[in-house]
Amino acid sequence: MESVQAEQRRTDIGPPKYDQFLHPIIKKNYGKWKYHEILKPGVLVHVSETGDKLYTVRMGSPRLINIDTIRMICDLADKYCDGYLRFTSRHNVEFLLTDPGKIDPLISEIEAKGFPVGGTGKSITNIVHTQGWVHCHTPATDASGIVKSVMDELYDYFKTMKLPAKLRIALACCLNMCGAVHCSDIAILGVHRRPPKILPNLSKLCEIPTTVAACPTGAIAPAVVDGVQTVEVNEEKCMFCGNCYTMCPAMPLANSLNDGVSIWVGGKVSNARHAPMFSKLAIPYIPNNPPRWPEVVEAVKNIVEVYAKDARKYERLGEWIERIGWPRFFEMTGIEFTKYHIDDYRFAATTYNTSTHFTL
């Protein structure tokens, strides 16, 4: 590639303006789309007021992709889409076509390269996830490995549209949740379970008052050990948020024996029918079991299958649980209900049942 002189360095230019990346048919029909249909799993048609039609073929991706895979995707977009494409908010690739005759040949080529087409309508589309052991310094589990293992098992749900409603899975590898999974139908969340260690060089690496203030439950207090300024942790007050480690590298809480995964259910962000909902705790802890986390895969699959069998058409997982009630959810899924399921943090009282509305 040609060399670039340092004087060409610019700052604060922002991203390229999007309009230069829009296919001519999109430019022509921008804001004029009239309706869409799902022609088959992974294939959409959008019809404009002008009569123009735009076809979309949606391809699943592992999110972590190399530049040769991007170039392969570009080759396909050059061949079938006049060199235009987009990505979705859930890491899928969308090929944009004007000729319906090219849809099936494109799908054949995508699948021949080992990538699936689907993720539309009443399906399980790609899992939104975080970095995990690939690139993060605070994870309680890996991200990509669990996602791969879960999607291998739920692959047919990506390629079909046979669920009662769409089902969105997300994974965050610690409570920082850079994947903001807290409003997903099923959320897989990495958890630490052992209070932080206090490294002997703490006072060199961290400011003591900031470290004390970092704890939302007041579990950290200043202390002097062997004449050296440090902190002490009241372990009973620790709820493993990890904020102390974020603020102070001398308080690591990653632990191979205790770190693992929790499972949360029933969240949504769409306003359709029911207002958006948070995900709620289903399973407090499953130990990390790489490389394929079979217990996590089984737990997710079980929830999906019980839901798929019992929910009514259009009912999202959270709407289904709200209708049948939590006692039935735990009974039908066979998940054990424990004291960990009962909230004891800031808004706990709002989650207690103050009625006789329940099933036995």
């Binding site: 670039v4 340092a6 060409q8 360095r9 610019r10 604060d12 230019i13 922002g14 991203p15 390229p16 999007y18 990346f21 804001g31 009239k34 869409h36 249909e37 735009l54 699943g60 592992p62 999110r63 992709i65 190399n66 530049i67 995707i73 570009c74 060199g83 979705t88 908010s89 890491h91 944009l96 990538f115 699936p116 975080t130 970095q131 052991w133 690939v134 690139h135 993060c136 310094h137 990509s144 490995g145 791969k148 291998d152 692959y155 990506f158 409570l175 903001a180 409003c183 690591p252 191979s256 770190d259 962000v269 769409s270 306003n271 359709a272 029911h274 948070f278 490389p291 259009y314 943090y345």
Partner: protein
């Protein structure tokens, strides 16, 4: 760079090459054949799979000249074993609105990244950026210079305006109630300084969703969620409704009965909607996009305060402005944003998101401070407790002299 890398054995990761879903391990392995960074990443990741912990050290401050964000510093805790990932910094590259690309533009980025980095990417990161995964400190400036020469810039990290993102919007969706791509681009350009240089108490995220389906999860993830809605009547094509009925949609049970406000009725010939009761949930429109469309008087609801759990618990955004027209140059919106940023800058504690600040001072105080009138759309119900902070009381005339 050292080319002599010890050969990595990866029996655990090999298990993740199996199965039908495309494999991230195959992606890394393919790069590892020609890129020493990718090769050592594979080795270190295998070690994490064995040890069940991460092997990245805490944090690390690196960046490009003049910026305080956009690069995530990362250092291996085992640089002796994996010298090629001793530094393995990530660059966030601000994506174009709606994640639209030409192949030409993508290939240029691939070429830059092939020369200067691991060859591995995330398309895309959670906030929306293109993520270039792993390079060493001395490559940051050359990459930045090359990216900007091609029209690209870095996204946000740390206590800055994080890279704004949006749904596909009017580019390919009939539900879009405002131009999400244009607004995202406009705000990103307008606020470049706070995007690149940390000046806030903590992070701030904008997400633009064109309709209440919220395909970018703005209500869960954005400090300011801008969600398209309409004010007037849903547009109905009665012939198309009848066609859906003929083709097997049970209009009564699948549409009318599932309407949360029960504002629809169907007599087998005509669908009637009491629009003044409609809460714009989108269900009927989602089921019959050929027959129903959002109204023509379109704009957005502005909601405030979503965040993940750290620290006071997760919050969703709540209504701040029930309806605002959104047309360039977006003067009203920008005035609102800047008033909020001023208040947050003044009163926000270190690492306090706006949603937490509002919890701490109370929504009423917050509205006073930014000059927004209270509206019943902001709440699910009025308070149930009688502990009201009345701000004034009457005094007898001449009381102070007694």
């Amino acid at each position: 760079m050292a080319n002599e890398t010890k050969k990595s054995e990866t029996p655990l990761l090999d298990e993740l090459e199996k199965g039908k879903w495309p494999s991230f391990v195959k992606e890394i392995k393919k790069m590892a054949e020609k890129n020493p960074r990718a090769k050592d990443l594979l080795g270190q990741l295998e070690l994490s799979y064995k040890d069940k912990v991460t092997h990245w050290k805490h944090g690390g401050l690196v960046g490009v000249r003049g910026y305080g964000g956009g690069v995530i510093g990362r250092y291996s805790d085992s640089p002796d074993k994996f010298p090629n990932v001793a530094h393995f910094h990530t660059l966030r590259v601000n994506q174009p609105s709606g994640w639209f690309y030409t192949t030409k533009a993508l290939r240029e980025i691939c070429n830059i990244w092939e020369e200067h980095g691991s060859g591995l990417t995330n398309m895309h990161g959670s906030t929306g950026d293109m993520v270039l995964l792993g390079t060493s400190t001395e490559n940051l400036e050359p990459i930045f210079t090359k990216l900007t020469s091609r029209g690209w810039d870095l996204g946000g990290s740390g206590s800055v305006l994080r890279t704004p993102s949006c749904c596909v919007g009017p580019a390919r969706c009939e539900f879009a109630c405002y131009d999400t791509l244009a607004l995202t681009y406009d705000l990103t350009i307008e606020y470049q300084d706070v995007l690149h240089r940390p000046q806030f108490p903590y992070k701030w995220k904008f997400k633009m969703a064109g309709c209440p389906n919220d395909c970018v999860a703005s209500i869960a993830r954005a400090d300011m969620s801008i969600i398209g809605i309409w004010k007037d009547d849903i547009q109905i094509d009665q012939d198309a409704v009848r066609e859906y009925a003929k083709n097997g949609v049970n209009i009564q049970t699948e549409v009318c009965d599932l309407c949360p406000t029960k504002c629809m009725s169907w007599d087998g010939k005509e669908l009637k909607i009491m629009n003044k009761w409609c809460n714009k949930c989108m269900h009927c429109i989602n089921v019959m996009p050929k027959a129903l469309r959002p109204g023509k008087d379109r704009g957005a609801a502005i909601l405030i305060g979503a965040k993940a759990p750290i620290l006071q618990g997760a919050q969703m955004s709540s209504v701040l402005i029930p309806f605002m027209k959104l047309e360039p140059p977006y003067k009203e919106l920008k005035e609102l944003i800047e008033k909020i940023w001023d208040f947050w800058g003044e009163y926000g504690k270190n690492r306090e998101r706006i949603g937490e600040l509002i919890q701490r001072v109370g929504m009423g105080q917050f509205l006073d401070a930014i000059g927004v009138e209270p509206k019943p759309q902001m709440i699910t119900n009025p308070r149930t407790n009688p502990f009201i902070f009345y701000e004034e009381y009457f005094e007898e005339e001449g009381e102070e002299n007694k």
